[in-house]
Amino acid sequence: MRSPVLRTAAFRMALWQAALFTLLGAALLGIVWLRINDYAQDELRGKVATEMASLRQADADGTLVVQLRQRLAALPAGSDYYLLTDAQQRAIAGNLRYRPVAVGWHVLPLTGAIGKDSSDADQVHLYVAHFPDGRWLVVGRDNRSVVELGEVLGDSFIDVGGLAIVLVLLGGGWASWRYLRRIDALGARAERALEGAQELPLVGSGHGDELDRLAARLNRLLERMQVLMEGMRQVSNDIAHDLRTPLARTRQRLEASLADGMDATRLRQTIGEAIGDIDDLLATFRALLRIASVEARQPHSGFEMIDLSALFEDIAEIYRPVAEDSGHPFEAHIAAGQRVHGDRALLAQMLVNLVENALHHTPVRSRLRLELQVQAGAMIGRVTDRGPGIPPESHAQVLKRFVRLDSSRNLPGAGLGLALVAAISDLHGIGLVLRDAMPGLMVELRFPGTCVS
């Protein structure tokens, strides 16, 4: 089983890079070697030619043999080779075993040197001259300098190349380890989310790189899934706990009417009450389903541009008489021409719920205000009452399902109105804030999008 680090795409890429680098290095070395070889050979033959010229001069002066002997004595293991023969090609002086036959350049494998270790050289370049009196003069030089240069080059290549490969592999390993660590963290969080754990979203490295983008997307996916899972869990809980009480009450009522010897009128009355109970239950069911369906809806599906100002005006027109009849002075301040992307029916229900809440939970004569304002470029809706308000510590609480504060226990309703408001504002990306209006409650709706000034 290979280590997971070695199985990452990043590490595979590092391996490919190492291979490519090696190939490139080898090609570079080959080219450099060919060029240097050419240059070194030219240099070598130039030296041989100079030597030959100087020995021909010595021959003209009659000191050829003396000079040859001097050179051989001075450099017994040097790279230079000499041979002087008589007309019958018998050696007179020299350190080379060779039988010259033709004038000019010859390249021979190095085997016939006398009294020399062949060092690193494997070739010798010879120039053969034939004197008019029949003697032969051979001057040569072996290629040890070229070979040594090649060896140095090869060694450096191996050193540098080896280091590069090690670095590439280490770097690749490190990169893939980091990659793997972040991917594993993402995966582990997804895994935990699947098991139902709730935690803070995964924070990326902050570089805004591809993994951060992936993390952000995964976060959104997980958040949405958690919302849905939470919603489902809540609905089941709600149904189990909060609907049981009214059902039990209805059952009790019906059971009691069976046990008593009630007359027909009382029975009819009891049945009427039971139907009323069941209607309330059905209304609660509808509201629950509505919240669940709003929560499960994809944002922006079925949205259109709607005239928000006209919607506020409508609500004001509809509720002004209702408020006045129930003894609540009503005022509306609505900025004209504001538009928003949304679902009109849902936004209408959101406003209706807020206005009706304000009417229900405040005493007679407390003022109710509906506003749509443009503030610092944002569209802000407000429903403000002057009633007892909601203590700030309960602001988050009242947005949940079936939450009813003690002060409103004796009023009709199931505690779903604000939960639906929260679901609708979530769907539309509306910032929903509850504030203390001192006294009273102010519900602020910060609409997304641009305002018309």
Binding site: L282, A283, R286, L289, R290, S293, G302, D314, E317, I318, Y319, P321, V322, D325, S326, A345, A348, Q349, V352, E356, L359, H360, P412, G413, G417
Partner: protein
């Protein structure tokens, strides 16, 4: 008036038949979508009451088939799917009215009544008249006994709807849907409040009450009782 009920649930169908107003008791029943279609092809009906979720052929498809064959028979769809989206789907398929289950029989009767006598052809009348109350939809004016009555836009719409259904009962839910476009039940007395304001304007100070409350069901605009 002949009514065809397409409903697979026997108990529900029996309940509807028993609850329909005696005037509407000439009722046939089909148990699935295909049977409904073939019965419509063989006989004339004045109104269809169609369940949405039907075996074999879905209620929506049945209505689409019906409309595709050029028939204008009014359709009232009843369904457990009461959400606005489901309702919109129904109306788009060619349904005339959509009622979510469970419903009160009074609600069903009022809607059947409204559909059965709905003028099917041509533009709706621009002038409506009930006794000495006149409404002109074109100039948006209302007069009673020769006196002009000033109405708010929403009150005008409310009166227009009531006059279009003059002599019949309209329920709170029908008014909420058509006048206020609320597809939910408000927790306050929105309908009652606006009706009482309208009543104050069109009835107070005139001879004979026109806008009547039908206890437990809704309202009715008519001359006399």
């Amino acid at each position: 008036m002949k009514i065809l009920i397409v409903e697979d649930d026997h108990a529900m169908a029996t309940h509807i038949v028993a609850g329909l107003h005696p005037l509407h008791r000439q009722v046939d029943r089909a148990v699935d979508g295909y049977q409904g279609l073939s019965m419509m092809a063989r006989a004339h009906y004045d109104l269809l009451i169609v369940d949405r979720m039907l075996p074999k052929l879905d209620g929506l498809d049945l209505v689409r088939e019906l409309r595709a064959s050029g028939r204008e028979t009014p359709v009232l769809m009843v369904s457990a799917l009461g959400e606005v989206d489901a309702r919109v789907e129904g109306l788009e398929a060619g349904v005339d009215d959509y009622l979510a289950k469970p419903f009160a029989m009074t609600e069903l009767n009022a809607r059947v009544d409204a559909l059965a006598r709905r003028p099917r052809l041509g533009e709706p009348a621009t002038r409506r008249r009930v006794a000495d109350l006149e409404l002109d939809r074109f100039t948006r004016t209302v007069r009673r006994a020769g006196r002009t009555i000033e109405l708010q836009p929403r009150e005008f719409r409310l009166l227009d709807y009531l006059m279009a259904h003059a002599g019949r009962v309209v329920t709170r839910a029908m008014l909420l849907e058509h006048v206020w476009e609320f597809h939910f039940e408000p927790q306050t007395s929105v309908v009652e409040t606006h009706i009482s304001r309208l009543r104050a304007k069109i009835d107070r100070g005139f001879d004979g009450e026109l806008l009547h409350t039908v206890r437990g069901i809704g309202y009715s605009l008519r001359a006399g009782h």
